[in-house]
Amino acid sequence: MVLLIIQLAIIVIVMVLIVLWGFYFPYPSPLVRRWLSPRKRWPEKQIRTWLKDGRFQRAFLNHFYSDPERMAPPGNSILAPADGLVTSADIRGGVRYLVIGLSFWDMHVQRSPASGRVLSVQSHGGDFMDGEGREFAFLREKSCPVHKRVVVATDDGQVAVRLITSLAARRIETWVREGDEIDRGQRIGRILLGSTVVLELPATTNLLVRMGDRVWAGETAVAESLTSP
């Protein structure tokens, strides 16, 4: 009798595991999530359903809001302001726009590319499509980007970081104010469910990254210092 109970208990456990698997399928069940990379743990399709419903798995939110410490490399090179992939580095009007595309699985805290003083924190976009939004539509084929632009004056010139998100998400936090002195690699803000960060540099700046490269905020040198020839 004891053996029968043990056997049935084991079979019930296996059945519960299978029901759990079937309940979450095609997405991974909680049993296997821990062994998967974030991209497979929370597939994009699943995240988009959460976006519609406004409900998210707590583990995903913990991952999304993670804010690990970063160690800036020595020197005066310009650092990546965000985690993600370099999607373009076009020059327009004497400014080089280094565009970094963020995925759902990237860390979403942005960091200062250089030390200096915050000249301004400007907000653009919002409930309506303004001129700035239209102008920057080329960045990721967005018709109505909402963004904030943080301009930093360094000893050798001026750089700016644009935090861009869609009209649907429309949530950007900036943690620096005009007049603040900030360090290289310091946290400057966060885009909630955001997708693009643009670093504006003088057109003459020598880049250290190319399109398709993966960069990490506050750690990857993306350009030589502004004083470099």
Binding site: M1, L3, L4, Q7, L8, I10, I11, V14, M15, L17, I18, W21, F25, P28, S29, L31, V32, W35, L36, K40
Partner: protein, 66 residues
């Protein structure tokens, strides 16, 4: 199949092993599908072969032990 399905007041070890093995194999298959970058047809074939080998081993072991 004497003793395979039922024996001395509890499930036969044969059917018990088949049920547990099949359930765990299904879960393992799901994990492999998610972890490995492999053509789905090939993966299914490999998993089916693995399952048949496992069941074969269980049945063979059961009769050898008996």
């Amino acid at each position: 199949m004497n003793g395979f399905l039922w024996t001395f007041g509890h499930l036969g070890w044969g059917i018990f092993a088949v049920l547990v093995f099949s359930g765990l194999w299904l879960l393992l298959s799901d994990l492999c599908w998610r972890l490995l970058a492999i053509c789905i047809g090939r993966l299914l074939a490999l998993l089916a072969i693995g399952w048949m080998l496992g069941i074969g081993c269980i049945v063979f072991g059961f009769y050898m032990a008996g």
